[in-house]
Symmetry: C2
Subunit: 642 residues, 2 copies
Amino acid sequence: MALVEKETMHISLSKAWGILREKCRQLPAEAVPVQNSLGRTLAEDVIAGRNVPHYNASAMDGYSLLSALTAGATPSSPVSFAAGEYEWVNTGGEISARFDSVVMIEDTSLDRKTGTLSVVSSLVAGENVRPLGEDVFLGQVIAREGDRVTPALCSLLATAGVKNLRTLALPKTLYIPTGDEIIPLEEWLELETPPPGRVGESNSLLVKGYFRNWAFPVDIAPCIPDDPNILKSFLEENRKKYDLILIGAGSAKGERDHTFSVLEDLGHPLFRWLLMKPGRPASAADLGGCFAVNLPGFPMSNAVILWSVVFPILQLLHFGDFDEETVLPLAIGAAGTEEVTLLSSYSSTYGKEEWVRFKCVEIGGGKKAYALPSGASALWSLSETDGLSLLPLETAERTKGTTVNLWLLRDIRWKERILFQGSNDPAFERIATFAKKKGGEVIFRSVGSLGGLAALSRGECHAAACHLLDTETGDYNTSYIERMFGPQADALLARRIVFFRQQGIMVRKGNPRGIRSVSDLRREDVVIVNRQPGAGTRVLLDFLFRGENIDPGNVRGYENCSTTHFDAGNKVLRGFADAAAGIKSVADALGLDFLPLAEEPYELVYFKSMEDHPGIAALLESLNDEGWRSLVDRMGGYRWTE
Amino acid sequence: MALVEKETMHISLSKAWGILREKCRQLPAEAVPVQNSLGRTLAEDVIAGRNVPHYNASAMDGYSLLSALTAGATPSSPVSFAAGEYEWVNTGGEISARFDSVVMIEDTSLDRKTGTLSVVSSLVAGENVRPLGEDVFLGQVIAREGDRVTPALCSLLATAGVKNLRTLALPKTLYIPTGDEIIPLEEWLELETPPPGRVGESNSLLVKGYFRNWAFPVDIAPCIPDDPNILKSFLEENRKKYDLILIGAGSAKGERDHTFSVLEDLGHPLFRWLLMKPGRPASAADLGGCFAVNLPGFPMSNAVILWSVVFPILQLLHFGDFDEETVLPLAIGAAGTEEVTLLSSYSSTYGKEEWVRFKCVEIGGGKKAYALPSGASALWSLSETDGLSLLPLETAERTKGTTVNLWLLRDIRWKERILFQGSNDPAFERIATFAKKKGGEVIFRSVGSLGGLAALSRGECHAAACHLLDTETGDYNTSYIERMFGPQADALLARRIVFFRQQGIMVRKGNPRGIRSVSDLRREDVVIVNRQPGAGTRVLLDFLFRGENIDPGNVRGYENCSTTHFDAGNKVLRGFADAAAGIKSVADALGLDFLPLAEEPYELVYFKSMEDHPGIAALLESLNDEGWRSLVDRMGGYRWTE
C-alpha cells in the first residue's frame, strides 16, 4: 500500500508530534455512570436537576418548633411547649411545614409523663434548618465542562441525582508483545535458570505501570510469535475494538523486523524512525479509526516511546490536544524541574535528541548530577534515576560543570543525601538502608580507591573509602592520602576503618584449574579478570605479582577489567575467566572457592567539616548499627576493628 | 465495658493523633507477586539472584564474529568471512562463546550463494555486545527497603526473575454506611422525586474516592439500619477480617446515635468528639487488632475525618508513622501551598480548629481569597474549593486583608482568572465555559448590582454587572456608577450591555393565587420572597411598589431574601412563597408562570486598564461567541443589543 514518504522517516520528535496532531482527533464524549466517574473530565456543564437538600432539613438532632414562641427563653425562664407544639427531628430529617426552626437537644428538657418540652434558649426563624436548595439549587451549574471529577464532586453529583455524566472518552488501548524469544511472564518467573537467548515478557509491566500512572486503561494481549501473517490477522481482528494498538518489538532492521511492513500493509504509515536515542526504531500508522505504534523491544526505548509518542497520542484522543512544553514531564510523572551542574562530562550523539538519566546530589551548596548508564536496555538506571533530561539534537559534548535542566522523577531530600565515591564493597553498600532510617541517604558510585580520594579532593563527593597498600611501607592509605591532600591532610580529613576484609583469589567451585597461589595466575591455561586501574584490589594484585616477579604482560586477561567485585566474581562463575582477585564475601555469595591472600583495612575518609551533615552523621552512626553489623557478619570475610 | 476517660473526650486533633500514634502499630510486611507490586513500598532490600542479561547478548541485529579478524576493514578494503566464521544474531540473541562482537547489518554484505560475508568496518572486542550482568549483576542490590515500586522497577524486578516482593502491608478497610433514612445509591439515582427526609447513600463515593487517591483499598458494606444490635453483630463478624472499619453516621447526640455505645461495648474507645469544625462528632476505638472510626454523616464532616483521622491511621498501619507537618496536605491531595489575603473577613469559632474552604483570585498583583459556605453539609463548596485551611483553635475573627495559608487543591491559573462580583444572571454565568476555551477563567460571586459596583470600586473584583434603575430618571446604572466612582467614572470604566432581559413576577404554574399585577402582591393571601438589599431586582420592585403606592411593610414576605433568581424561583415552586420578582429565563427553567413587568439592560462594568487581562479579554470575546449566544437564546427572556 502507501509507501512511507521520505519526510516522515528519520524525523525529529517535534516533527512526529506535528504529524500526530494533524491525524489524531479527539474521540467523541462518552456517558459514564456517576459511580464510575472519579477522575474523569466533564465534556459538558452539569446543571442541577434537583435541589440539595430537596426539603427543609434539620441540621441537628433536636425538636422542631415555631421560633416566635421561644422569644425570651433562658435557662432561668424556660418556655414550655405542650405535646403537639413541637416534633422530634433527627439530623437530616424533614421539618414539618408548620415549624421553622430546630432547638438543640442540649437546650431542652422533656417531661416524659406530660410530654411538655422546656426550652431554655430563644431561636430565630431558620435556626438549625438546612433550607431547601441550601447546598445546590435546581438549575444551578454544579460543575463545568473540563472539570475533573474529584471525590467531592462525584459525591455531590450523586447527591443531586445525576445518574450519568458526559465525559471525555478514555481511549481503548491494546498492547501486543511480540517475539519468538519471549517467554510469558508467569512462566519466566518460575524458571530457575532461564535458557540463554530467551527473555521474559516484562515490557508489559512498563506499559501497564505508565498507563496506570496516567489513569488510562490498557489491555495486554498474549505474546505473538515473529510471523507477519499472525500479526496481520491479529491486528485486523483488533483494530475495530481499539482506538490505539501498541506493538512491542520487531522494529529494528533485521530478519524478524516485519512490524512496520505489516503496518504499511494494513493502513497509512505516519512516521518511521525518530532522531532520538534511545527510541530510534519507533513507527506509527493510521489503521483507519485506530492508531498503531510500534514500540522498540529494549525496555528503555520502550519507555521513551511510551512517554514521547504514546502519551501525546492519548492526550490527542482524550483532550483533543496537548501542550508541547508540559507533555513530556507529565508523561514521565515529573515531580518538578531542577537545574543542576554536571559532575562528569557527558558525550551525546550529535543529530539525535538523547534521553539521559541522572543521579543527583547537593555538594558545596550546589546541585550536581552525573549520568547513569545510557543503554537502551539499561533498566536499572531508569529505576535508579533521579531526573531525566532530553538533550537537544545539536548537543555533542556536555562538559563537567555545565548546567542541565532535569525533570525530577522523585522528591530528592537534598539536605540529607550524600554521595560516596570510592572502593566498591558490597557489605558496606548495604549500610544505605540503615542510614536512611537515621535520616541520611547515601548514594554509592564505585570508582575505585584512588578515584574516590581524587573525587573527594576535588569536592565531588561527601565521602570516599579506600584500601590502598603502600608497597614500600606495607601501610595502607596514609601515603596516598598525603600525596593527594598535602600536609594538611590530617587537619582536614577524618579517617575511620570500617572493617578489615579478606582479599584473595576467587575461582570456580572445586577449583577446576587447580590454582593454589598467585604464581599460578601466570599459567598459559589460566585467564584472569582484573579490576580497573586505581582499584585497591588491583594495587594489591600488582604488588603480589611483583613479589613473585610476574610480568603482568604475561598474565592472560590482565587487561580485562571489572569495576566491582561482584562483576569480576560473576565472570569467573560463568566461565569467562578462571580467576579474579576479590573479597571473600563476594566469593561466598556467588558460591566460588576462595584462596585468601591478605586482610586489609577498608577505610572511610571524609572532611571533618562535614561531620554535621545529616547524611554523614547517619552514615557514621550506622557503622555501629547492630542490624547492619550482623548482616555484614553473615556475608563473611569481615572483621571488626574493636 | 471501659468508659472513655475525660481526657479522651472533646480533644484537639493533635491530642487525638498522640493517642493514635500510641495505639496503631505498623502491620507486618506482606509478600506480593511482582506483577501486582506497582506503587507498593519495599519492606526489605532486594538482591539480584540472577544476572541481567543472563548471557552475552547482542545489542542489535547483525553478525557475531571474532573482532580480531576485522582489523583494517573499511568500505574500500572489506574483510571476508567464510560461512561458519560468523553467525547471524538477532537483537537480544545469544552470542556463541567463540565470538566476541557483533557487526551491524548495515556494515556488511552477504553473498547468498557462497555464504561469504564482507565486513566494511573494524570492530573491537565486546562491540555491540551486552555482556552478562550488564544491567544487573547477581548479588547486586537492585532496590532498597522503603523504595516505591515504579513501572521501571517493577519491570526490572520481573526481568531479574524476582517473583515475590516483601512490601509494606496495605491495611484492609471496610466502610459501613448506616441510617434508616439512607437510600442505596443505585435506587436513589433511579428516583424521579426523592421522598423528603430520605437521602441517597453518597458518602461511600467520598470514601472510595479518597481511598483511590491514596492508593489504599477499601470495601463498601451495604447500608445497615439504625439498630445497635445489627451494627454490633456486623462489627463482630468483620473485625477479624479488617484492620480498619469506618462506620458512617450515628455519631451525634440523638436518639439514633448509638454507634459510640456499640464501639464501647466491643472494644476500647480511643477518643470521642474533636475540637474541630466540622468533624466534631467523630470517635475511634480499638476493637482488638482492628481499629474503628465513626465518621459523621454530613459529607463535609465525613471528608474532614477521612483526612484528619482515617488517613493518619492508614499511615500508621502502613508506614508505622506519619509526619504531622505533611499528613494533612497529603491526605487532601494538596498541589502546593499559598499565602493569600482575605477579600472578606471570616468569623471562626474560638476553641475549635476550623476547616475553611476558599476560592482564590489574583487582583492588583496580590493573591486573594474569600471563604465559601462553611456548613458541614455543604458539599458544593468542597467541590468548588481552590484551597483549604485549618484555622487553629484560638482563631476568632480573621479580618479582611489578613493573611491565611492555604493548601491548594488545584493548579490555579492565576494570570488567567478573573473574579466577577455583581448581579446574578444564570445565562451570563454560563459564559464561563466559553471563556475558558479562550484562555480565561471567570469566577462568579453573586452580591447584587450595588454590591458588585462597590467591590469593583474597592479593587476587590475584575468585573461587575448591574441593572440598577434610577427611579428619578428612568435610566439604568449611570447615576449609580457616578455616585460610586466620581467624575472620572467615564475615563476609568468600560461599560457594555450584555443583553436586555425580561423582569417580571414568577408564580406557580397555572397562577393558583390569581396574581395579575404588582398590586396583587400586597394581598393578605399572598406571600412573596424578596431579593437582598442592593439587588437590582429589589430596586425595581421597590420602584414598582412606589408607583402603586404600596408600603413594603404591608407586603407579606418582603423581609425574606434570596440572593439569586433561582433561589427565589425555587421558593415559589416549592410553595414557601407565592410570588417573587425575577427574570423570565429562571421562571422558564423552573416551569413557573411569568408576568412580565419590564425589560432591563444587564450591563458589564470593568476598568479600562484591565482590557488586556487574559480573563477580561476572554470574557469580552465570549460575549460574541455563537455557542454561548444560542445557549442564552434557548433559555428565553433575553434580547441582544444589536
